[in-house]
């Protein structure tokens, strides 16, 4: 079934599971429409592969509207592809030209082992959240919401940090595979708000400790994370987290 006039060559990373060795395989993507999303292009290729008795390419995806954070392709050397501010599922084929060769890899990083082909294991992010990415308030403890007044600017800045979708593009973009942008976004959101201030010291120390244990690298202020983040999470969050961390380290040592 033909959908459009674009013909492309794909070089895609194939890897059976985390213990096996991977390699690039070449596929033809024929009859592609510029209105298709990048993942719909993969759907078309996979349908063709299955119909001809071959194995489809495994990749993670779910909402296909740029918010769940599940899709995760490293396209021509950039997480989520050539356009800024969007996820792979929001990338459309009109961003490519007929005849292009496109190289597609999974996220790389010691803390993101490959599960199969383009799908990786990002459970390390969940464990970092368990270490401190919360306010300790049980259901039923809350007072009337308008008893906590929050300056609009603080609420807006906290929201900008909270917009992180946990996709891991920051780690994939970083030459050190650092997760500082992800961790700092949650630390910032909660430390900017009065609800989160009470536990801010334990939070930053515990989350950073878990981040290190998971095998993420250190931050060398390159800024690739911010440049590649589909939600434009700011490097300022890393600065804020560093300040919180230093402050917490000094205070905690005195206790």
């Amino acid at each position: 079934m033909s959908h459009g006039n674009m013909n492309l060559t794909l070089k895609v990373w194939k890897q059976k599971n985390k213990d096996s060795k991977g390699r690039f395989e070449t596929y033809d993507a024929k009859g592609i429409s510029p209105d298709m999303s990048f993942l719909e292009m993969f759907d078309v290729v996979n349908e063709q592969l299955i119909s001809t008795g071959k194995e489809p390419i495994a990749f993670d995806h779910d909402c296909r509207e740029g918010i769940c954070g599940m899709c995760s392709m490293y396209i021509n050397g950039r997480p989520h592809g050539p356009k800024g501010g969007i996820t792979t599922c929001q990338l459309h084929m009109r961003s490519f030209n007929n005849g292009d060769t496109i190289v597609v890899e999974p996220w790389r990083g010691a803390a993101f082992p490959v599960i199969k082909d383009l799908a990786v294991d990002r459970s390390s992010f969940d464990r970092i959240m368990s270490a401190g990415g919360f306010v300790s308030v049980n259901t039923g403890n809350a007072k009337d919401a308008n008893n906590i007044l929050i300056p609009k600017d603080d609420a807006d800045t906290a929201f900008d940090a909270a917009a992180c979708i946990g996709c891991g593009a920051c780690v994939a973009a970083c030459k050190n595979s650092s997760a500082m942008l992800f961790v700092s976004a949650k630390v910032s959101q909660l430390s900017l708000l009065p609800q989160g201030k009470i536990e801010k010291q334990e939070r930053v120390l515990n989350m950073v400790k878990q981040m290190d244990e998971e095998g993420f690298g250190n931050c060398t202020n390159t800024g690739a994370c911010e440049a590649e983040c589909p939600k434009s999470i700011s490097l300022e969050n890393i600065a804020r987290m560093n300040r919180e961390y230093v402050g917490a380290s000094f205070t905690q040592n005195k206790k």
């Binding site: 909402c63 769940c68 199969k116 308008n146 609420a155």
Partner: protein, 662 residues
């Protein structure tokens, strides 16, 4: 009409306003020491699942959470855009618990249970309090208080929001609470696991069979109670605003194990979605209902008008919602707005290349906001361009992410030309039948959030899905589960080598073997698309006895074709997304048949269920309260065989009336 003896809704006695308070204060409790030995399985990690799991773990129960995604944070609640309703009356515009209750019953076209809906309205305020305490960054005013906006079907401002990402922020709040419990060891998290069946012993739910989606291995898990928080089944239509992985499998397996399915035909078609662009389309994208606060919907007055929107003068535009429904205008409920769009397009007034779209236009309100900003800034005689630029900034702050998303998908700039929109499948009001405790007809098996049928009747109002998911998880199940578990404190954990577990696992294995053995010629997606076409054409926005009868036969044939000609590549013991899809599509096919049968049985129009034979002269839905004021709860009796049980809906506090938004 009397309710079926098989359905006991367990609605507490007493006057409506006191039912929940009194019930909550007298429901049986489980003491803290006993909670530690009671195990609860939660399937699904969206708003309902995460909030329930976190709350139950906080109370001391041992909880296991399953989700098919790689992290609980990916559940599709994350994509909800517009907001969450609560009867806080912060805007001093006359809101109250009663008004939220009334709007919800009326919006649902008088097909929901009064007691459940009133409880929902009562706890709505607590949800906002809880979320704020967790650090959810809701939109605020300059004075530091919370901000509100309007949604369809209401005349007050009761919707709380976080830009166009309210679902994301609420889910991340619930996910944080969940991960806190995981860190403390109170919750065991099973991500990338899919529930394949419910295990029942002596008629009670006692656990599940799950498949580890990475290794492909089948697993047995025991629980004293099982909570299905697995969302809706809109993907039965193939194209919907649901995530690709959303499915009915958990609910359908429960149905086949004895849980009755309530009102399966009630589907919500959302009026404002980005139109289909081609046959490669894998999903549809919603443009939040909140846009109808500031966007005006119109089509040209002239058929097949080829001019650009900008070139069509004001007097040649038909703002058909404002014309037909002056009291609510662009903010009529979703079912009404969707049908009105379909009516205009079917009559030949649609816009865009496919002619299956209408305009959603922000120009007038951009100018209005611009003027207000100019006044605030004390600008004298600003140019039209300056006013527009100021207004554009206001619109950008309110809806920026939605406008960006629209541009990304369509390659058109909605700040410069109106959006083109068309209705799409968005939500399913139907779901597993539950009693007041949220328990299904299988003891110990519960359904929460979109997975149950309970609160939205035949049409859900905007910003009420988030409210219901969190109400069920944070504030209802923590109390109502005690009614059942207090009787289970003597039940020791049942070893999973029990024959019921062995048998259930063997059945799942047999089905997997069967799927691989077919080695047919067609892909899973082929069947899913074929099912979607039948459902959209014959069980979509308009239904008829003739079309539904045809659809049932076509679906039965499709089922035969699926089981004789599907091709599932790869192996079981690996990460195999085609196998996952095959299970889900097989269940969707069976559900599709039941949906059509339910729609055929309901000889009336109500809410999202519109039967062409039953409409007023003006084309409005015509209910038949004498014969259909009931919940249709279907019992599975074997292949293609479903028995109807009726739960009579008693309206003791609200007078039944023809819905009127004019």
């Amino acid at each position: 009409m009397a309710s079926s003896s098989k359905l006991n809704a367990k609605i507490p006695e007493g006057i409506l306003e006191d039912k929940w308070t009194k019930y909550r204060s007298t429901v049986h409790l489980v003491n803290p020491a006993n909670k530690r030995s009671l195990e609860v399985i939660v399937v699904g990690s969206g708003l309902a699942g995460s909030s329930a799991a976190a709350s139950l773990a906080e109370m001391g129960y041992k909880v296991k959470v399953f989700c098919f995604q790689d992290s609980p944070r990916r559940a599709h609640s994350i994509a909800a855009q517009g907001g969450v309703n609560a009867a806080k009356n912060y805007q001093n515009d006359g809101d109250s618990v009663y008004r939220l209750f009334y709007d919800t019953i009326k919006g649902g076209d008088y097909r929901a249970r009064e007691a459940n809906v009133h409880r929902l309205a009562e706890v709505s305020g607590n949800i906002i309090d809880q979320c704020v305490a967790q650090g959810v960054p809701f939109a605020r005013e300059y004075g530091g208080t919370l901000s509100n906006r309007s949604f369809g079907g209401t005349q007050v401002q009761r919707t709380f929001y976080a830009a166009g990402q309210t679902g994301q922020q609420l889910l991340l709040g619930a996910y944080s609470a969940l991960q806190r419990q995981v860190g403390m060891g109170a919750v065991t998290l099973m991500a990338r696991h899919e529930m394949m069946d419910v295990v029942t012993i002596d008629g009670k739910a006692r656990g599940i069979i799950a498949r580890d989606l990475v290794t492909g291995k089948l697993q047995r898990h025991f629980g004293h109670a099982v909570l299905l928080c697995t969302g809706g089944y809109g993907n039965v239509f193939y194209l919907s605003t649901n995530a690709m992985g959303c499915n009915v499998t958990a609910a359908w397996k429960a149905h086949k194990k004895g849980a009755f399915f309530g009102n399966p035909c009630y589907t919500q078609i959302h009026p404002t979605c980005i139109p289909v662009s081609g046959d490669h389309q894998s999903k549809l994208t919603l443009m939040s209902e909140s846009l109808r606060n500031d966007g005006r919907i119109w089509v040209p007055k002239q058929k097949d008008d080829k001019r650009k929107a900008k070139d069509i003068p004001e007097e040649e535009r038909d703002y058909y919602l404002e014309r037909r429904y002056p009291a609510f205008g662009n903010l009529v409920p979703r079912d009404v707005a969707s049908r009105a769009a379909k009516e205009r397009c079917d009559a030949g007034y649609g816009v865009g290349s496919s002619k299956m779209a209408v305009y959603l236009d922000f120009e007038a309100n951009m100018m209005r906001y611009g003027q207000i900003e100019a006044n605030k800034k004390n600008l004298h005689n600003p140019t039209k361009e300056a006013i527009r630029a100021l207004g554009k900034d206001v619109v950008k702050e309110k809806y920026g992410n939605l406008f960006d998303m629209y541009k990304q998908i369509t390659d058109e700039d909605p700040y410069e030309m109106p959006m083109r929109i068309y209705p799409a499948v968005h939500y399913t009001m139907g779901g597993l039948w539950v009693d007041y405790n949220l328990m299904t007809t299988v003891p110990g098996l519960y359904a929460l959030g979109e997975a149950n049928f309970s609160d939205h009747g035949a049409n859900r109002l905007g910003a009420s899905a988030l409210m219901q998911g969190l109400a069920d998880g944070y504030f209802v199940i923590p109390y109502t589960i005690g009614e059942y578990l207090s009787e289970e404190i003597r039940t020791k954990a049942i070893p999973t080598d029990n024959e019921a577990f062995v048998k259930a696992e063997a059945e799942v294995q047999e089905r997997i073997n069967k799927l691989f053995s077919i080695k047919g010629t067609k892909t899973v997606d082929y069947f899913h698309k074929a099912l979607g076409r039948i459902m959209w054409e014959k069980c979509g926005m308009a239904r008829s006895a003739k079309g539904l009868t045809e659809a049932i036969a076509e679906i039965q044939q499709l089922k035969k074709d699926f089981w004789s000609d599907v091709r599932v590549p790869g192996e079981q013991h690996e990460f195999n997304t085609e196998l996952e899809k095959a299970h889900r599509v097989a269940d969707f096919i069976e559900l599709g048949e039941l949906m059509c049968k339910d729609a055929l049985n309901r000889n009336e129009s109500c809410g999202g269920h519109f039967r062409e034979e039953y409409q007023t002269g003006e084309g409005e839905a015509m209910r038949d309260d004498d014969n259909f004021a009931y919940v249709a709860a279907w019992e599975y009796k074997g292949e293609s065989n479903f028995e109807l049980h009726k739960e009579e809906l008693k309206f003791e506090n609200i007078k039944l009336a023809q819905r009127n938004y004019a």
